[in-house]
Each structure stands twice: as structure tokens, then as C-alpha cells.
Symmetry: C2
Subunit: 392 residues, 2 copies
């Protein structure tokens, strides 16, 4: 096991009607002037925004608002948020939404206490200060509610880039599974795919003998395999929603990846798809991740056998383990298809002829990625090609 630090100081506030406590927690963590940041109309229509405002008002906390976050959140709105925070002396940011809203909030939090361009933090500069952030989560997917990560897209060139800092970990995150019950099935499935992908990026490691993290990874994956079809069949299944929502946090606060090398190539390869086509990140992952698996599985057949048997219930073929490894990947893709995810370029709305553009934008040049298997531009091209034509 590799040496590591694990730090997840967020106060998680989980369950029915907990959004009514938003004001209490903002106050507890020192907020007196809040920027409420959110996406589109659903937060307004559902009454969530009003309930949260009431909760702030009850605690004597004043606020300003900034809506309009889009999926794959844009830098333009982050700049607007920073302007507001500086002008209005905002001291706390409250994100109402899913990963895009939280990630946008993190950009604003870092940029508001910085004299330069916040994009610096998405270009390699370390965050040194940030406004405190609170979250009321409405989509189980990104895990941003429990992580220090943020991904923002710069409109100019549609550059999708990430930053990470413990300073961007939310002070508190309110997770009410009932708030996710109104999500369309497609978005629910995209979220589930993202959660599983967050685990797989950590599961495929070159570090030996990390049984505890392996088993924790499998705990989340097994939960997703059981619970996702239940919410697709019945969007109002609170218990299944609750299991998925908590699994989404556990998948990405760092716990299931400690002490081991990780991969993250599928995420990088996918980001170019959602940047170019503005498709949902989870949908892109459904197309890319099984294709990546098909391309790299020979690097460690036994690890794919472990996934196949422990997660997807395959019988181990002891005479020919490769059969089991391949069967596991097949079952993963079938599972994604069964919950309504696209599995190839056509279903996603991507075009095979764009592959050179995608590879070029990834910017590997003559270099290589790191991870489970180090990839060249040629490897990435082949993975996109598998993804373009994938079938059940």
C-alpha cells in the first residue's frame, strides 16, 4: 500500500427534508452574506430555492443569487459570480444543484479571494484561499459534494479543465434523496454511470495488495448494480435513491482510492466528447469506459476477472481466465445499456470522423498519459474507434 493522506472534513447532512437546515449550517460555518448559486428552473419550480431562502432568512442571513449554471459549467458564469462576490462582500457560497453547480461554485470560491484570473487555478496554479462553500445536492453523480475537485469549461476553444484543493471541500453538504426523485431517467442513469466510473478509475491500479480499498470499491459498485435498475423502474423509490446518493459521495471523496495508483484516462478521454458535443459526462463515460476496458484488459487479466466475479457475478473460468475478464466487460456494457445509456458514438451523438479532432484536443502530442496503462495518442485513437462502433 502506498503512503497517503486522507482528509474529508465535510459535514454530511443526509435525509428527508434536511434542506430546511441550510441556514443553520451556513451560520454554523460562519456565513453572513451568501451567494446562492444554481442552475435552471427546476430548483425554482420545485420550491427548493424558496425553502432554502426561508431557511437563510430565519437565521438572519442575507443573500444574493446567481442562477444559470449549465451542464459542463462555463467560465463566463464563474467570472460573473466572482464579480458579485467581490462587489457584495459575499462570505459564503451555497450551491443548490448537482456537480456542475458545485464545480462552478468552487471556481467562484477560489476566484473571489484572488486578484488574478481564476482560470489560473484550472491551469496548474494551487489554490491558496477560497470562500467557504455549502451544498444542497439535487443530483447523485459527480461526488463534488464530498470532494475538493472542480471541472470548468472555458468557452474559448471549449477547454474543459480541472482543479483540486482541500480548500474547495464543502464545509457541509445536505443530501436529501427525495430531491432526486424528479430527475428524468436519463439523467439518473448518467449520474449512476459517473458514480461507477469514479470507482473504476480507482479500481484499476498497478498497486498490489490493497484489499481494503478494492473491497470498498466493490461495495460501491455492487450497490450501484443493485440500486440503479430500481430507480430507473421506479423514480420515486426513496430507499434506492438514498443508497445511490450516499454511494455517489463515497465513490469520490477519496476513500476508495487511497494507498494506490489510479487511472483516470477514461475521464480525460470522455471530457473531450462532452466538451465537443456538450453531451452529458455520464453518457460519454458509458461509451468510453467499457471501450477503454476492452483496449487495456490484457495488461492485467486477473484484475478484470476480479471485477467480473465480484461485481458482475460471473463464474470464474479457471482454465481460461481471459474469457471471464471479457465477460465482465461485456456485462458492464450491457448493464449500462439496460439503464438507458448510449454505448457507441451514434447513440451518443458523436461522429467517428471527429476522432482526429478529439485526439488533437486531448493534447498528448508525442507524449503519454499515466495511469493503469500509459496511453499514446495512437492508443487513444484506437479507444475512440472501439467506442465509435461498440455494440451489445
Amino acid at each position: 500500500m502506498d503512503n497517503f493522506n486522507f482528509y474529508s472534513p465535510t459535514q454530511f447532512v443526509f435525509g428527508k427534508e434536511r434542506e430546511g437546515e441550510a441556514g443553520t449550517y451556513v451560520k454554523k460555518y460562519g456565513g453572513s452574506k451568501v451567494l446562492i448559486h444554481y442552475g435552471g428552473g427546476s430548483v425554482v419550480r420545485s420550491g427548493l430555492l424558496d425553502r432554502v431562502k426561508d431557511s437563510l432568512t430565519k437565521e438572519g442571513i442575507s443573500f444574493v443569487e446567481l442562477g444559470g449554471v449549465m451542464p459542463n459549467p462555463r467560465s463566463g458564469l464563474v467570472y460573473q459570480g466572482i464579480d458579485i462576490c467581490k462587489k457584495e462582500s459575499v462570505d459564503f457560497i451555497l450551491a443548490l444543484g448537482g456537480g456542475s453547480v458545485i464545480d462552478s461554485s468552487k471556481g467562484i470560491a477560489a476566484g473571489s479571494l484572488y486578484d488574478g484570473d481564476f482560470w489560473d487555478f484550472y491551469s496548474g496554479k494551487l489554490v491558496e484561499k477560497a470562500l467557504p462553500i455549502g451544498v444542497v445536492l439535487t443530483i447523485a453523480a459527480a461526488g463534488s459534494e464530498g470532494s475538493g475537485d472542480s471541472v470548468v469549461t472555458k468557452e474559448e476553444g471549449m477547454l474543459k479543465r480541472a482543479t483540486s484543493s482541500d480548500l474547495l471541500r464543502p464545509k457541509f453538504s445536505i443530501l436529501n434523496p427525495a430531491l432526486t426523485q424528479t430527475l428524468p431517467a436519463y439523467q439518473t442513469a448518467c449520474g449512476a454511470t459517473d458514480i461507477m466510473a469514479h470507482v473504476f478509475e480507482r479500481y484499476f491500479t498497478n498497486t498490489l495488495e490493497v484489499e481494503i480499498t478494492d473491497r470498498l470499491c466493490e461495495a460501491v459498485l455492487l450497490t450501484m448494480v443493485k440500486e440503479t435498475p430500481r430507480v430507473i423502474a421506479d423514480p420515486n423509490n426513496y430507499e434506492a435513491r438514498a443508497n445511490i446518493m450516499w454511494a455517489g459521495m463515497v465513490a469520490h471523496n477519496g476513500l476508495v482510492g487511497v494507498g494506490r495508483s489510479q487511472d483516470w484516462n477514461s475521464h480525460s478521454i470522455e471530457h473531450e466528447l462532452s466538451a465537443l458535443y456538450d453531451c452529458a459526462h455520464g453518457a460519454g463515460l458509458a461509451v468510453i469506459m467499457p471501450s477503454w476496458m476492452e483496449y487495456v484488459y490484457k495488461h492485467n487479466i486477473m484484475r478484470f476477472c476480479q471485477m467480473a466475479t465480484r461485481v458482475f457475478g460471473c463464474q470464474m473460468n479457471f482454465e481460461n481466465p481471459e474469457v471471464t475478464a471479457v465477460e465482465g466487460i461485456k456485462r458492464f456494457r450491457s448493464f449500462l445499456h439496460s439503464i438507458g445509456m448510449p454505448i457507441n458514438f451514434e447513440e451518443l451523438g458523436a461522429k467517428e470522423e471527429d476522432i482526429p479532432v478529439l485526439v488533437d484536443k486531448l493534447g498528448l502530442g508525442d507524449g503519454k498519459t499515466g495511469g493503469f496503462v500509459s496511453l499514446t495518442s495512437e492508443d487513444v485513437t484506437k479507444i475512440y474507434e472501439i467506442a465509435a462502433k461498440a455494440e451489445i
Copy 2:
């Protein structure tokens, strides 16, 4: 899933030689005058105490010392520690040891900022302030390095009582698995038993459909079943030690018990054994927990089947599930025996004729416990009786 809060803000610093960073972390979390608290001579003989002192000195941090913590830590030493902290204006407590040292440190931390008797906090009073605590862990067992819990024994009447507060969660915990390599096999096995017991206390729940926490529980248990025999066979197996050490933290920082009712009757029933005989808590649990399982399994046979199949690899008997349930309990007891744990009163050094004393000290009177199955004094008597005579 029940509503819950989950808050585990400790900075975990894991891996080889990390104790050399103790000074850095004490400084980071605001300590300038430290009480180093530890147990017996092993911390001195191994050179750990000196290495930690060097690390503090390097950061310009001054310190005082208090050794002598015994297993089942006593209130007498806590009072001494509080006196020292008050006289010497100590602002940070650094625990070097296992659960007993950490629990004693927590008592001192709470008592040092309180005008009354620290025992109040072990008699139901809520902790309102506490000195910050850091940990250098030397035994994987109690999970106190990641929890807000503390158990201390009052010499007068050998009363073993607990307190819990988020204020008692360590600011940082340094976990170097190599420090546990010198532990005798018996202590290693006691620790492993305690870790598994912490999970089982949460696993046996009356809350339905908490798949994610079930699976996380099983992740820890499966890890312990795999790794414990390896360290018993080879005490210097760093990888197995590492898996167990991290599993011990995950087992008890709260994560594997959220959203569900819990039990904790085995812990209460055991506490009377270790209080009366001063035996190791883990050894007492090895005697009590399988006996408790035998007594209560009919309350939910399917849950015991889940344990049997998912954790101990039993084949499910679909025609007669009770067979599987019983087989799982049998395998658990055999596992404990195989790692060198006592499984009945004689092996533990307890006496069957003391059962009325044990039951009386538990103090249920005509009342009942809570938990998975609510127990009367008569039930507890029967569990002690099963434990007295248990065999493989």
C-alpha cells in the same frame, strides 16, 4: 435509510515513517505546548517516543510527558493528565499508542477545559470544549484514532463507561503500519477481533434496505478475514498490517453505520468482563460476540445468512436458511479460534459462577437494552452462559 449526519474531519496521515511528521501536524493544528501521552515501555524501547520528540523539537514545540496508560485506561491517570495540562498550560495532546492511550487522552482533553470532574462526561454530560488531540497509532484495534468515542474505567467499583463527541475527534492521526509489526500475535488478534466487532455491532440492524452500508461493512469484514491470518503467520507482513490498520479506522469512524439502527449489546456485555477480569477487550469480544449471535439469530435469520454467504463464503441453503445462518456463526467462532482468540470463559480466564455479578454490574435491573434485539437481564445471563461453555 434513516436520516443521519456523518462528520469525520480527522486528517489521516498513513504509511511508512510518517511519525516523523508529528511535529509538522501539531504545528499545523495550532499546538505549541504539548502533553505527550503514552503507555508502557514499548514506545520508549522502540525509539518511537524519541523520534516523535525530535519531530516536535524541530518545529520549536515544547512538551511535557505522561506515560503509564494501562489497557482499560483508568480515571486516575486522566486526573493526573488534567492536572499537568492545567498547570503547564498545555494546548495540545499527542497520544502515542493504541485505543487505551487515545481514550485516556480524550478524557484529559475534555477535562482540561472543564472546572468540574471530567467523569461527568462519562456519566452523560455533553462535552462542550476540549483540547485538540493528535495521534500516533501503534495498535490497529479500537478505531479511536478516527472516532469521537472514549472509554475509561473508574477504579472505584471498576466502572467502565463511555463518552462521545465530535470535539474529541483527533485533528490528525498518523498511521504507520510498520509500528504494529512488533505486536505479539495475541494482541494483534485481539485488535482484529475488536475491528470485526465494531462492524458487526453496526451490521446487525433493524433498518431495511441499507445496501451501501451493508456492503461497506462487508468490505471491512472480508478484508479482516483475508488479512488477519496473514499477520498471525507473518508479523512482519507490512501489506497485511496496512490493510488491517486502515480497515480498523474505517470500521469505527462512523461510515459503516450511517443511516441505520445499530446494536452494541456485545460491547456492553463484554465491557463487564474486561472490567472484572482486566482481560483484553478483543479477547472478551471473541467470547461474547458469537455467543450473542447464537442467542439472537432467530430474530432475523436472513441477515445471518447474508453474513454467512457474503463474509464467510458459505453456500446458501435455500431449503433451510437456518442451517446457513448457524453455519456462518460457527465459521466466525472458528475463525476467531484460528487466530488464537479464546472462545469460552475458561480460555478467557473468566468464571461461570461470576455471571450474576457480571449481570448485576451491567445494571439493567428490570429494564432492557436497545439494539438489534432488546435484552433483559435474563437474556444477558443466557448469553454469558452460552459464552461460558462455548466450543468449536
